[in-house]
Amino acid sequence: MRAECLRTIEEAALADARVVVVASDPGAGFMPELAKKYPERLMIEGVCEQGLVGMAAGMAAEGFYPYIVMIAAFGTRRCYEQLLLDFGLHGFSGCLVGIGGGFHYSVLGPTHVAVDDLMLTLAIPGSVVFAPAEPDEAITLTRCARDLRGLSYLRVSATTEALSNSGGQIIVGKGRVLDAPASVLFISCGSATLAAKKAAGALAQSGIAAGVLHLHTLKPLDVQTIRSCAEKANVVLCVEEHRRFGGLSGLVLQALADAGKPVTLPRFVSVGVGDDFPSGYGSYDDMARHYEMTGDALAERARALLSS
């Protein structure tokens, strides 16, 4: 989805002089059409995350809309205070695009793997946090960000597959029910949804109906859909390429327990990364296997829960 997201941003900047693309060091040949037609709208500032986020906020204060493109790990950690204060506290509008959120940079080790980007950006008051699963979502949410007030974070994952059914329209803050809730329900975000879909398919083949609720928007959270889906399930598996705390699982549990009218809590399992630095290297799939987040592993986990 990276290419589609970046192309969408480039188109936005081509069409609107108030849109600027601010990037650290995105590689040669980045957004070539924009670089050729409107070079001043493409601001590549080098690896100075704090300086460039502060600068982007200053431009936002004066009416420009920055899409800030950085590797997810650095764009959320190195300049966190700039995101929190320069954008968040001031209420300035812009979109941080975190390239390679989740396991994408598995070969580069724990400095680059971003399994805390969602919790960091969720913690910024007033932020909007997106974790699309597929290119169409990335395109739509990238466009939508431009019309939102305040800071948006868009996690761009490595995956390129499309979801196999539509799950309805892509609307900011609305969950997509990809498979109808049943005794098993996967709730997922980002590219983990692709694995959840595969798990639901595998379970269906063995006669177990499983639902998939995909949340491309973690904030604002679609509490109503989470609650209505979970009420129909005996087992909920929350799946995220993220730490098991501070991200989707915590939000979902809070949605189920809060609002003064808690649902009867189903059996709940959180699938993700624990309190450790992701160890080893290898491919994206290797990392997914290590954390038992492949479709097969998730299906097996669901079967075990149902029979225990």
């Binding site: 100075c48 704090q50 300086g51 460039l52 502060g54 431009m59 204060a61 009416g63 204060l85 320069d86």
Partner: protein, 292 residues
């Protein structure tokens, strides 16, 4: 490098207006019984230069799009900014009496409120300059004529984000950006030389491609002259005006005294001394140093 030099920083007597503004600082300090007083008193003449002479602004129309942007990056020195904003009519004088109260307009650090002349929320250090760089880029692109002035502390320059921002500022040749350094040579734990040596600032700024000036930060005419000179340019690099100042300037027992960086719990005797020191124009304080 501009050919300006300064001698005997802070040796000029403060005029009645500078004393009046310091009394406004003390009014807020007295009301809250706390505040970063030393850090504010070193900047009074810097803000006087900006608001009384150099910056284009209109207190009757605070959100005028064509106003020059003035950002206090070392937000803890906000009492100086508040004193000028009150004096200029951006805020009621009575707001000083509620400094740091629960629902007060004015808190211990500035919060963005263009209606009252405050452009940026600062307090965490190293944020004002990058913001100012972005604003200056925006106005250069708009060809609006708006200039951006950002006041930073010398201790604040420990923050690496400032140096990142200067790289960007030089790249975009932001003649409309002026960084003003409150160079009082002290931070809360002691002198900059002992905490984290940062001199020579001028050479550092020049190596980053900035045009620089060195002035006595309490000599209003010199500060005005330097600011007018660098901010009148429409092309060329950004500027740094290093204002050599005295922390706590105007109150003899507070000057260069780390105990007065942040002060709380003022007893009646100290308050009486403050009133006495700021009562009338006269020679106050001692020279902090001379040009290299």
């Amino acid at each position: 490098m501009l050919g300006d030099e300064y001698v005997n920083c802070g040796s000029q007597p403060l005029d009645e207006k500078s004393l009046h503004l310091r009394r406004l600082v003390m009014r807020a300090l007295r009301a809250a019984d706390k505040g970063h007083v030393g850090s504010a008193l070193s900047m009074i003449e810097i803000f006087r230069a900006l608001y009384e002479s150099v910056a284009r602004h209109d207190p009757a129309n605070p959100k005028w799009e064509g106003r020059d942007r003035i950002i206090l990056s070392k937000g803890h020195g906000c009492l100086a900014l508040y004193a000028l904003l009150a004096d200029q009519g951006y805020i009621d004088l009575a707001a000083l009496d509620r400094f740091c109260e629960r629902d007060a307009l004015l808190g211990g650090h500035p919060e963005r409120d263009p209606e009252h002349g405050i452009e940026a929320s600062t307090g965490a250090l190293g944020h004002g300059l990058p913001l100012a760089v972005g604003m200056a880029i925006a106005h250069k692109r708009k060809a609006s004529g708006v200039r951006v002035f950002v006041v930073v502390g010398d201790g604040e320059l420990d923050e690496g984000s400032n140096w990142e921002a200067l790289l960007i500022a030089a790249k975009y040749k932001l003649a409309n950006l002026t960084m003003i350094v409150d160079n009082n040579s002290e931070q809360i734990s002691g002198s900059l030389d002992t905490v984290l040596p940062i001199e020579p600032l001028r050479e550092k700024f020049e190596s980053f491609g900035l045009i620089t000036a060195n002035v006595d930060g309490h000599d209003l005419a010199s500060v005005v002259e330097a600011l007018v000179r660098v901010s009148s340019r429409v092309q060329g690099p950004p500027a740094a005006v290093i204002c050599h100042t005295i922390k706590g300037k105007g109150v003899s027992f507070a000057e260069q005294n780390p105990q007065w960086h942040y002060k709380r719990g003022l007893d009646p005797k100290t308050l009486a001394h403050l009133d006495e020191e700021l009562a009338s124009a006269r020679q106050i304080g001692s020279p902090a140093g001379t040009e290299r």
